[in-house]
Symmetry: C2
Subunit: 209 residues, 2 copies
């Protein structure tokens, strides 16, 4: 059974995801959210305790959305050849390109947090602690070798972590001028392929001078 009150609750969260993604936490107004959700102004206070409580709910939905698509299992990755593991890692990073209708707003919400970090986000990050950092670092080590310079490993790991992000962050621009890519699944596949090869060659060749 779906209670009418739950419908209002869900409508508020849905509208909030859209508005927070568009305007950021500070820029979003409860009035716009309630208008979009066809709910009353006071509904946010009633259901979530206030604007921040609603945002916490939106952040939970955001983390949830990314977790739902996470296919990366560190154990399996380690059993694979480094090149293949890297390719899977890249593929995972680019997954938002395939699921962009579903993840676009959540990506934007995370982007906002880079510039205006909220307490709500901070607290959720430490409590969840779902870091991909060790996975990426393990991957890097397999290319650079176990006796590699720790600083080089750290930098390369940070570097690797951002490689997919480049295309995810700006994917709205990929389809527009002057690039005009047709953003279908085939394109994403070719992108993943090229990027994997760029990174494999880079990580493989970085130790050689």
């Amino acid at each position: 059974m779906i209670r009418p009150a739950d419908r209002t609750r869900q409508a508020l969260v849905d509208a909030a995801v859209a508005v927070f993604a568009e305007k950021g936490y500070e820029g979003a107004s409860v009035r716009e959210i309630t208008r979009k959700a066809q709910a009353n102004q006071a509904a946010i206070t009633y259901h979530f305790g206030g604007k921040e409580g609603l945002y916490r709910e939106v952040l939970r939905a955001t983390f949830q959305a990314f977790k739902a698509f996470n296919l990366l299992e560190p154990e399996k990755l380690e059993a694979m050849e480094p090149q293949e593991a890297l390719r899977l890692f890249v593929r995972q990073q680019l997954l938002p390109l395939n699921k962009r209708e579903q993840l676009a707003r959540f990506i934007r919400i995370l982007n906002w947090e880079v510039l205006q970090r909220t307490d709500a986000f901070q607290e959720l990050v430490v409590s969840e602690n779902t870091s991909v950092l060790p996975v990426a670092e393990g991957l890097v080590r397999r290319f650079l070798g176990e006796d590699a310079d720790p600083e080089a490993v750290a930098i390369s790991t940070l570097w690797l972590l951002h490689q997919g992000f480049i295309f995810v962050r700006d994917y709205e621009h990929l389809g527009r001028a002057p690039l005009n890519f047709k953003l279908d699944d085939d394109f994403v596949e070719r992108l993943a392929d090229l990027l994997s090869r760029l990174l494999t060659a880079g990580l493989s060749g970085v130790t050689r001078v």
Copy 2:
């Protein structure tokens, strides 16, 4: 001679750079700016016609700051070996790390524009039109060859353009836990070196399977 009125003007711009960088265009308040500049509320309207006019002035200062540090001359780059040209290109991208005291706020202002594009910024971009895109594309072509797949060239170019940005955008975090890099010039030099080698190896090896 410096007229007192010009001092107010300059104080407003300086304060505005700081506040716009911190809060973004929407989030910044004219009251905070005038307070920081020790000027009157109405001074912004008087000198710049309003908040947007002041922001336009800040954007001009931003573009100016980046232009002042641009050492890249496309002709010289083409005369160099690809590896060396790429290294110089990377070096230029990482320059904000060396000049971070001077460029930090301007970088943040540009980062804000990614999420909340202002009309003022849009207009200034088209009027300035100082794109590094052709430089990067030329560089990529020298590695991939003249007969390379146009899509691969486009993707690789976009990829190359973002490589320095990875470290510039998050350079505030580089020095903090859990990375704790000591952000001196030596570190930047080592970073440029490693990144150059990663990219050189990547672009050189991408055509090989």
